[in-house]
């Protein structure tokens, strides 16, 4: 197994699968496109499983490394590898792809092959982002992954999809250009090397560090998204089809956060320390401000989108308090949010497919006609409010503990999510699911079918497993996070 290029498989199996799906052409072949997509997605997941099985938890070094020259002239390499920070995201991404394919099975009726292909290709590209160890390779994957998402929102999206797609694209592209400039500067400074690990060792002066930090920050903050550059997210989610929202929330938001860990903290540690108060401040604003904003949303998707911003505030907070609980908690929160937000959007999608409305006011008493669905939705709502024994608790708990170690009031502000998160999530749940049947549309609802049960149950299994036994998740992180913390503690001046 050691000789198998697992990471290349994780990237190219879905992409090749996606191209094959695309080749099935028009909607006449839709059934074949669906099955082919499912097979590719499952294969894509299977090839990532050995990453966990053969992962060596004792080392912080990159594992499953693949290195071959790509562009000689600029010393660009096809360099892949994962450590304890990135490994889970490759698996999570492959898992979510399977969910998305099942979730879109009967729901997408037009341009089926193109829809499935877009998700498969995006899945491969995002695996590339998580495993790239070369700056140019990273950048190519990072930018390329924008295109399928842009198309997904722009083609299969809601009525205002073009505005949302443009907003999404321009927002993120603006950030990426600064990232490119920073990469080029680092390339020159490192004496013509694009290796990310080389950049980790590169001594940089404070002024340059600060400039690079800001370039990184703008680029990654948009992706996370951090307050105040978050406003593209609710628009994008509202217009995106269910699958698009799932991938956007579960994986795409993690790219920015991952960038902080792979670039900002190790490459410019001194600037990261100097700027930490600003980031912590922005994170806490995200947690509290967005929590209040989520409370008053009338559109379920917007509510969950804002709740995502609030939860991602925990991630950036965890990174910049610079202790093990904080960083590991943030990574756990990222994985958990992958399950929980995917599940929340999937649940809203299930209702939307039947009612064609996302407005809370159009619902009421769904439990009467969809009891099985209501039970699963309850589980995810509780996970979203951070109930212990669900995955949502683990990351928040760790970050709050880490934050209290760092400073009591930071922990205090972060812990308000316990109240706000429960309030906005359960208030929505109450208005949508509980109560007497509100109108004739709700009365006609049918409960989830086997396919819907399957993907919700898979997500539920992830949520519960991580909540009851997070040990395997954190176990793989320790060495890498310790190494990262050591790195961050050393000045590069």
């Amino acid at each position: 197994m050691t000789g198998t290029p697992l990471l290349s498989l994780a990237i190219w199996v879905p992409i090749v699968g996606g191209l094959l799906v695309l080749a099935t052409g028009s909607d006449r072949n839709a059934p074949m496109a669906r099955w082919l997509a499912l097979v590719s997605a499952v294969l894509g997941l299977l090839v990532t499983i050995p990453l966990y099985q053969h992962f060596d938890t004792a080392t912080s070094a990159m594992q499953f490394v693949e290195l071959s020259p790509w562009i000689h002239r600029f010393n660009v390499n096809y360099h892949l590898g994962v450590d304890g920070i990135s490994m889970w995201f490759v698996i999570l991404n492959a898992f979510i792809t399977v969910i998305v394919v099942i979730a879109g099975w009967e729901v997408i009726k037009e341009k089926v092959a193109q829809y499935m292909a877009a998700f498969l290709i995006m899945s491969g590209l995002m695996n590339g982002i998580f495993s790239a160890l070369d700056g140019v390779l990273f950048y190519v994957f990072f930018e390329a992954s924008l295109i399928p998402m842009y198309l997904i929102i722009g083609i299969w999206g809601g009525p205002n999809r073009v505005y949302a797609a443009f907003k999404f694209f321009l927002y993120t592209l603006l950030g990426s250009l600064l990232l490119l400039i920073a990469f080029l500067w680092l390339f020159l400074e490192a004496g013509g090397k694009f290796g990310i690990l080389d950049w980790h060792e590169l001594p940089i002066g404070m002024t340059a560090q600060t400039l690079i930090f800001w370039a990184f920050l703008i680029s990654f903050a948009v992706k996370v998204p951090m307050w105040p550059v978050h406003t593209w997210l609710p628009d994008a989610h509202v217009e995106a089809p269910t699958g698009g929202s799932i991938v956007l929330a579960a994986i795409a938001l993690k790219l920015g956060a991952y960038g902080f860990l792979r670039f900002s903290l190790p490459i410019v540690p001194d600037a990261a320390h100097a700027m930490a108060p600003i980031i912590i401040g922005l994170s806490l604003i995200a947690v509290i401000y967005i929590g209040f904003v989520a409370l008053v949303q009338t559109d379920m998707k917007k509510l969950v989108a804002y709740s995502s911003v609030s939860h991602m505030g925990f991630v950036t907070l965890g990174f910049f308090i610079f202790n093990q609980l904080g960083i590991e908690g943030a990574i756990v929160q990222m994985i958990s949010h992958g399950f929980v937000s995917a599940a929340m959007f999937a649940c809203i999608g299930v209702m939307y497919d039947r009612m064609h409305s996302r407005q809370i006011a159009d619902y009421g008493g769904v439990v009467n006609t969809m009891p099985k669905f209501a039970a699963l939705f309850m589980l995810f709502a509780m996970a979203n409010s951070g109930l212990p024994a669900t995955s949502g608790f683990v990351g928040e708990f760790m970050v709050v503990l880490g934050a209290i170690q760092f400073n009591f009031w930071t922990g205090f502000a972060a812990a308000t999510t316990l109240i706000l998160g429960a309030a906005y999530t359960l208030w929505m749940y109450k208005r949508v699911v509980f109560g007497a049947i509100a109108n004739s549309h709700v009365a006609e609802l049918t409960d989830i079918n086997g396919r819907e049960f399957l993907f919700l149950a898979l997500l539920a299994a992830g949520v519960m497993a991580m909540g009851l036994y997070p040990f395997p998740f954190t176990e793989v992180m320790h060495a890498s996070v310790d190494n990262l913390l050591k790195h961050v503690a050393m000045s590069k001046l």
Binding site: K167, Y171, P228, T231, Y289, F292, V293, A294, L295, V296, Q297, N323, Q324, L325, E328, G329, G365, V367, N368, P371, M378, M382, L387, P388, A389, F393, V394, F397, M398, V400, L401, G402, A403, I404, Q405, F408, W409, G411, F412, A415, T416, L418, I419, A422, A423, L426, W427, K430, V433, F434, G435, A436, L468, Y469, P470, F471, T474, E475, H478
Partner: protein, 674 residues
């Protein structure tokens, strides 16, 4: 079977029942659902009894089951601590739960959600057992939130009722306010003690006591006081202490069996149990103890007053529960942890009895809960009548009955405490005795004695006693038809009443000696030598009989008697007098009827305020400032600049030439000066 497997069996047996009844609730017949869950809880109770005996023989246990997670140098574990305190709680929880399970067979017989209900209460039993058996703060928090979840699900059990789903949301969110404090306390412990294991934290207690933290720069506070107050805020949520008590009366929207199990006997006492468990920490902080005295005393007295004006049978018992929880908190504040746990235990039995009795009355009355429509039920429901009388007598502290021993010990402890606030607490718990007797026997007389007022035509069921959550067209309320008489409930309902009446009578008499003045809690509860209340009481204690005889010459007995006599006078003899009194004291009655305006304030200030802030930030912040000015503004700015720049590209050669000449001129001027 070794003991460790037996420990595991206690929570897992009810869990297995809950999973079977829950996952297959739509396919299994009813008898399967109640058999598996009752069996599971019965196994837990028998095992708890065996463990109780084993602990009394001196075998305690403190060890982990599995490592949940490891991070930041802290091991987060799931594990058990089996000591006298735990084994007592296990016994109380499993036995009350078993009674409630049996009772439910009768009470929920006509309900569609029968299987679901059994699944929930078994799940609750599991969660509560995990909470009390924990040997660390993580699992404690797990159990803490899990019982909150089940409480949420059960309050909203009848999910089509607007009042029920309002009440369960309120209960969850208010509890979360408490949990917020609780989590901060746990976080501080993790940060300063570097562990969440009870034994390890307690071992570091002395070190923690010497630390101070400056939460507000310039004013150092004792760290341990901050920790204890944070933890106690958690207890205030769960154990419904003022001002976080507001959810408990509304929780009566849930079916009566869970009001007995969760909102009287077990879950709401989790806060009391937690503080007793943390006695090695709380003993280090006089500030936290004083805080508890004041909060507990306020709850004990002022919530008792509210019980007097309620007309819904369950709400009277609910306010009584609040008041009794206040008594337990006072005991904690007076460092009389064993007395608090003792009262917790006796209260679990007699309050579960009172609630189940109320439930039996509600069945007899065909789901009319207004005590003004009852009266004279003693003839029709003799078993319910006698057992409710036993429960009421135990509650008001009749000598020789269980409540007497536990409550008198608390009053005594409050008298002997010297902390700031103890004087107020003593006054409150003493006055509370009179109030308790008054509201208890007001209810008792209105329900079981006097004229039969049921079966009237054209009744108005004012079941809630408060206006804000009154539901129009309450279709779940029937009441008795004219001429119809209530009947005694079936045996599954009255058997638990009888079985609970027995400990309500005798358990105080039997257990006061070992629990309060014996060695029972040795090693489980720690009391600092400076807090000598319990030690002084022990010196005065000459056996349960002497204590009861002695009480006849004591204030509390006469206060209770006065309360009963007043209730008898007002509600049996001069029945038109209460109405007249109300008119005279209208402002006070309005205040009580509105429950001191806590709910109105919370709605107007916190709930509406949060929505206002949310709307302001959303419309003002996100839509106007960020999107309107920054994002779309930038887009407009680009367009605007382009508009201007376009003007320069006019295509007229003379304009370009003119611009060039001006430019050259400026450059020349500039460089010549340099």
């Amino acid at each position: 079977m070794d003991m460790k497997s037996l420990y595991l069996l206690v929570p897992l047996a009810p869990l297995a029942g809950a999973i079977i009844a829950g996952l297959f609730c739509r396919v299994i017949p009813r008898w399967v659902a109640h058999t598996v869950t009752i069996l599971g809880v019965a196994v837990a109770m028998v095992a708890s009894w065996v463990i109780f005996q084993d602990v009394q023989a001196g075998n305690t246990f403190d060890g982990s089951i599995y490592t949940w997670m490891e991070a930041g140098g802290i091991k987060f574990e799931i594990g058990f601590l089996i000591d006298p305190l735990t084994s007592l709680m296990m016994l109380v929880v499993s036995s009350v739960s078993l009674m409630v399970h049996i009772y439910t067979v009768g009470y929920m017989a006509d309900d569609e959600g029968y299987n679901r209900f059994f699944s929930y209460i078994a799940l609750f039993t599991f969660s509560m057992l995990m909470l009390v058996m924990s040997n660390n703060f993580l699992q404690l928090f797990f159990g803490w939130e899990a019982v909150g979840l089940v409480s949420y699900l059960l309050i909203g059990f009848w999910y089509t009722r607007p009042t029920a789903i309002f009440a369960n949301l309120k209960a969850f969110v208010v509890n979360r306010v408490g949990d917020f404090g609780f989590l901060l306390g746990i976080g501080l412990i993790a940060a300063y003690a570097g562990s969440l294991n009870y034994a390890e934290v307690f071992a570091k207690g002395a070190d923690l006591a010497n630390l101070t933290v400056e939460l507000i720069p310039g004013s150092p506070w004792m760290l341990v006081s901050v920790i204890c107050i944070c933890l106690f805020i958690g207890a205030m949520g769960k154990s419904a202490q003022v001002p976080l008590h507001v959810w408990l009366p509304d929780s009566m929207e849930g079916p009566t069996p869970i009001s007995a199990l969760i909102h009287a006997a077990t879950m709401v006492t989790a806060g009391i149990f937690m503080v007793a468990r943390m006695s090695p920490l709380f003993e280090l902080s006089d500030a936290a103890l004083s805080f508890m005295l004041v909060i507990g005393a306020t709850t004990a007295l002022f919530m008792g007053f509210l019980g007097i004006v309620q007309n819904d049978i369950k709400r009277v018992v609910a306010y009584s529960t609040l008041s009794q929880l206040g008594y337990m908190t006072v005991a904690l504040g007076a460092s009389a942890y064993s007395a608090a746990i003792f009262h917790l235990m006796t209260h679990a039995f007699f309050k579960a009895l009172l609630f189940l009795g109320a439930g039996s009355v509600i069945i007899g009355m065909h789901h009319d809960q207004d005590i003004r429509n009852m009266g004279g039920l003693w003839k029709h429901m003799p078993i319910t009548w006698i057992t409710s009388l036993v429960g009421s007598l135990a509650l008001i502290g009749t000598p020789f009955l269980s409540g007497f021993y536990s409550k008198d010990s608390i009053i005594e402890a409050a008298a002997l405490s010297h902390l700031p606030g103890a004087g107020y607490a003593y006054f409150a718990v003493l006055a509370g005795v009179f109030v308790t007797a008054l509201y208890s026997f007001r209810m008792y007389f209105l329900v079981f004695h006097g004229k039969e007022r049921f079966g009237k035509t054209n009744e108005h069921h004012n079941h809630q006693g408060d206006q804000d959550d009154e539901e129009p067209a309450a279709n779940h309320h029937h009441g008795l038809a004219p001429g119809q008489k209530p009947h005694e409930s079936p045996w599954v309902v009255w058997l638990p009443l009888v079985l609970l009446a027995i400990p309500s009578l005798i358990i105080g008499f039997m257990e006061i000696q070992p629990l309060l003045f014996g060695e029972y809690f040795k090693g489980a509860i720690y009391v600092a030598p400076v807090h000598e209340a319990m030690a002084e009481m022990a010196a005065e204690f000459h056996g349960p009989v002497a204590m009861a005889m002695h009480s006849f010459s004591h204030g509390p007995f006469w206060l209770a008697l006065g309360g009963v006599l007043l209730a008898a006078f007002l509600y049996l003899f001069a029945t038109d007098l209460p109405g007249k009194i109300l008119k005279v004291v209208q402002p006070i009655h309005t205040l009580l009827d509105n429950k001191y305006y806590f709910d109105k304030f919370n709605d107007a200030f916190f709930a509406a305020g949060a929505r206002l802030i949310g709307r302001g930030l959303w419309k003002g912040g996100d839509q106007v400032l960020i999107d309107g000015i920054a994002v779309n503004g930038s887009a407009r700015m680009v367009g605007w600049v382009a508009q201007i720049a376009r003007l320069f590209q006019s295509g007229h050669i003379y304009q370009y030439a003119f611009a060039m000449i001006i430019g050259v001129f400026i450059l020349l001027t500039f460089y010549n000066r340099g």
